[in-house]
Assembly symmetry: D2
Homo-oligomer: 355 residues x 4
Amino acid sequence: MKKISFVLLVAVLTLTVSYGQKKIVNLPDLPGYVTLKCDFHLHTVFSDGNVWPTIRVGEAVRDGLDAIAITDHLEYMPHKDYIPADHNAAWKIAQNTAKEYNLILVHGTEITRSMPPGHLNALFIEDANLLAVDSVWNVFEAAIKQGAFLLWNHPGWKSQQPDGIPRMYDIHHRLIKNGWLHGIEFFNSSEYYPLVMTFCKTHNLAVIANSDNHGVISESYPSSKYTHRPMTLVFAKERTHDALKEAMFARRTLAYFNDMIAGMEEYAKPFFHQCITVGKPYLENDKNLYFEITNHFDIPFTLVNGPAGAPATINIAANGVTRVVLSKKVTAPLIYDVKNVITGENEVLRAELKY
Amino acid sequence: MKKISFVLLVAVLTLTVSYGQKKIVNLPDLPGYVTLKCDFHLHTVFSDGNVWPTIRVGEAVRDGLDAIAITDHLEYMPHKDYIPADHNAAWKIAQNTAKEYNLILVHGTEITRSMPPGHLNALFIEDANLLAVDSVWNVFEAAIKQGAFLLWNHPGWKSQQPDGIPRMYDIHHRLIKNGWLHGIEFFNSSEYYPLVMTFCKTHNLAVIANSDNHGVISESYPSSKYTHRPMTLVFAKERTHDALKEAMFARRTLAYFNDMIAGMEEYAKPFFHQCITVGKPYLENDKNLYFEITNHFDIPFTLVNGPAGAPATINIAANGVTRVVLSKKVTAPLIYDVKNVITGENEVLRAELKY
Amino acid sequence: MKKISFVLLVAVLTLTVSYGQKKIVNLPDLPGYVTLKCDFHLHTVFSDGNVWPTIRVGEAVRDGLDAIAITDHLEYMPHKDYIPADHNAAWKIAQNTAKEYNLILVHGTEITRSMPPGHLNALFIEDANLLAVDSVWNVFEAAIKQGAFLLWNHPGWKSQQPDGIPRMYDIHHRLIKNGWLHGIEFFNSSEYYPLVMTFCKTHNLAVIANSDNHGVISESYPSSKYTHRPMTLVFAKERTHDALKEAMFARRTLAYFNDMIAGMEEYAKPFFHQCITVGKPYLENDKNLYFEITNHFDIPFTLVNGPAGAPATINIAANGVTRVVLSKKVTAPLIYDVKNVITGENEVLRAELKY
Amino acid sequence: MKKISFVLLVAVLTLTVSYGQKKIVNLPDLPGYVTLKCDFHLHTVFSDGNVWPTIRVGEAVRDGLDAIAITDHLEYMPHKDYIPADHNAAWKIAQNTAKEYNLILVHGTEITRSMPPGHLNALFIEDANLLAVDSVWNVFEAAIKQGAFLLWNHPGWKSQQPDGIPRMYDIHHRLIKNGWLHGIEFFNSSEYYPLVMTFCKTHNLAVIANSDNHGVISESYPSSKYTHRPMTLVFAKERTHDALKEAMFARRTLAYFNDMIAGMEEYAKPFFHQCITVGKPYLENDKNLYFEITNHFDIPFTLVNGPAGAPATINIAANGVTRVVLSKKVTAPLIYDVKNVITGENEVLRAELKY
């Protein structure tokens, strides 16, 4: 039969990114490092997601990210009746678009097993198809051989831990002993797991925040509940794929979601102080002095447990100037708990306002 | 080799509709008919779109639509390296979700040829794969055999008509002569083609508005430019698939986009008068009388060219009450042009306000 | 000295209402009655408010109210160094604007005393200056002589009741015994007092919601915390000043604030059922049936404590269609607590969904 | 008769500013100067405005201004039946609030005459009551004696110039000759007058933008039409009243409204270049190179009339990163017209993008 041929004049734009400009997510750098905003956990039609890979690039650019990884499930492919398995497909498809839009695209995949060990992302890999093997330990080995950063996803996910409490099983300890586990998600989608802070401190792992999105990002974030998508802030020597990788293995991260920051005090403390400027008093009368806290960045901060006589709570607006009226009777240093900067399982940052 | 098997605990929600409630698009019914809001032109990953078919259902439900058709290109499949051709796939995948969410899913496809005849949607078909034949006339014949409603898409699309002006070619006249052409898009995506009004009047065709969306609806509508997605309003005897089909073949439609209505005066006139209520004067003084126009619906109206002495322009807000101050010197009837209700190529609705 | 005279060409618009259209607050009428939306407690520069009286008219029109009362304090006038006392001034100034904008303006004032009796509004009065007398009982007598509706404001206001719990003192009982007290604020500004429900039930008083606004309404409502300003819904025989007055004295009211309704079940129950329509099942399978609840109005409802096996909670969106999936095992009637319709101090409306 | 006395427990907050935080209007400083955002034309109930003076302070703080002047009409007092004339009242009332909120309050008044000379604001005065004299020249003299900055308001206001075209009359020339006229409004409320650019260039006058607001700022700005209120940007040596005054007399201003900047190239050019950063190319292929323009500030820019082969238009988003794809065939420097930076009556800024 004659081959069907058509003269097509179709030039439909298939890239929704074409009309989007990159938003600036306004967060400070740390001295010596540039702050990269990243989402290392995303799905597409190539596993159980509902969008084409280029959509993930477009979303990331509009949301002001510097890097993403598409991490389709290796072992869960509900669309396989329509789409044959190629675990590198999403990465291959998204690659050129990422380059054109100056987005760092990390090659990744999600190892999807029952608990233990649960789900883990292998990031910075070279060929996901080589990871489609039976024994989970063999998968880990193959990933590490490719230089992977192994990330334990949603360790307290109720489908795998019905009480919502993350637990380290023997296999996790073996991974750690081998130096094969590098990070854990503290924030996943809209959940978070306080215990992850202890795991990360004990075993020197990176604290991570990812969206794990399956649908359309803009239908989930921002919303009436969430001010922005989850992001891992990575403090890299420069804005390149390799510098990002170096920083990840060096555990220079903070997890950022819904106006909360979580991570090691080593990064959280300077990050907070880079955000705010405390002005000199601009007015003084018999009883009070007045000063302003300026926050040029996108994170608001809630300060609580101030010293006796000082305001008990100070709400520092994002991109705003906050006025503080302070009684002259207060002589103690203005040390507060920064309620939304989490530095441990039951611990928040203590910070001093020096006016 | 041993089959790879995993105990999966994956129960990921793959339906973004699950968290959405249906918005009410507040438009009046016409006497004897229910107004169905429809989008008959949508793409998915099964041609050159970027979303999985269930996403189209979720979007439609949230946007308050009653019916959609997914109309992937028959002849243009840029994802074919990854997704083998099955022109019924999107319809099969979306069907159950549509039922569960009480959305009417019309089986359709887009016949995608160079101009003439350009692109045409075949709606209410039974098997799209049977339409994948070479001769375009054979495609039409096969579609009509399945009972299709044939819709000419974006007749003034600049990729096919560089001057943007729709033209009827011989093949269109042959379709019309055979009674095979049933409607034309007046609005497509963000474009519109005034001349379509003349084509539809001359040849008794339905006036249609569709989004032709390839990406994510919520990234295009609403936006700072467009208040809502394009919809075809169909005046059906009841809210069922078959009543919708009957109404379409009977040409009982209006095209609705960006606060504009386009269609035959037969429907546009009663539609406008169902939207507004003109109150009796509530105040009168020596010079003026005051009355209110109440519009309980989602379309604002712009009335221009009022009679001498009356307000030249009246902006009737959507979901609002508009106050009119009328000089008592005005004795002429309050007949206005309703600027955003298009009833012809160069014609808008003339309507009288009876207070 | 010669009188200064200038030829002025000033025609500055001093009415901010001029550019505003009336929004429709979409709430149902009750059988036999029209629902009037009212705010009976507002301040201006003529006591301790910060806006000129016409601003109150403009705000009310834009917010879709039918009636307001300006109720400046009789006894608290912090602006008196700049504005000499005339307790009728605000009413006189706002009157013509109200007429032109079809807003019912109720003549009122706020009797402002320490507790007991606290603050009371006298509404539907004729001359506020006659109420500027020393003995509070004489003020009440003078107000009643003018036909006033007496409304007890914010009975649990912490400046007057430090524990926030309203208390009836001897003077309140005397007022009630005389038939001189007609209503109590359940909602005031952003506060509410559950105990008021008991007072109103015991003594047959109208349940009221007012904004008590001193600044600019749009700076307080809507906000990230409050969806709309407090309103008293009055079920009147028609939309006139006198019908409003009759309905108030007949206690036909509901208090409405922040998506909550409070009042007697006699009005709350039919009001709820006027808001929603429960559809017939549109889909049924072995396990479940599916039906929709349509709410064409501006109040969402939260239904809790459903029967065993049925959804525990149903969130009925405002202006939306809510899908319910019901197990066929459920045979009990679908009776729920409507969490945001308050019918007693510790009581919410019980309502049945009949599909 | 016995004096009426009440024990009041009224502690009502009369300051709407109390709950507001200062927004940061993100605009760059110029080398050596801090950019102060100012509105020098505002009305209150003390002439024909509709708000109490403290409201103006609260609005300004929330809107991120550094300085305002309240400029009630000297000769037009429609509220005088209720409020006796004291032309310093608004300033006296607002003063303490301004201090507490760190807002610079400039003492001012509006000289309100028919054209010529029309309306002029006297700013930085000491006693407005001394300006309430008959002869307009005497008013000017009295103002100058107090050290006033004289500002000609809305010179093309149609109530005084029916054709909307500003005209310099003899009295204006006399003012200029005396060195008594210091600035002219280019933007007033929502109007602007191109010819003012020529007047300011010819006579070395400051280019000014003011709101001239009579009602409530938040009801006018932002709106669907206007992105922000009009502001005069003043480049001062420091953020103090006296440094502001020095900068005004030195004519170091730009007028800023609705995403437009107007003023002398001397300030407009460095202001534009402080806003944007052009990155090095991040991608290059056979045909094109790709670079990004980063704009960390609140003003978008529209660049038009690019060199042949380069993008004709570049829209630089505010607070965003704009991607530019440039054909390698382009060898000319990338010089564009910055459409929304007005440097003359018929002239916009020419600027080069150096990547």
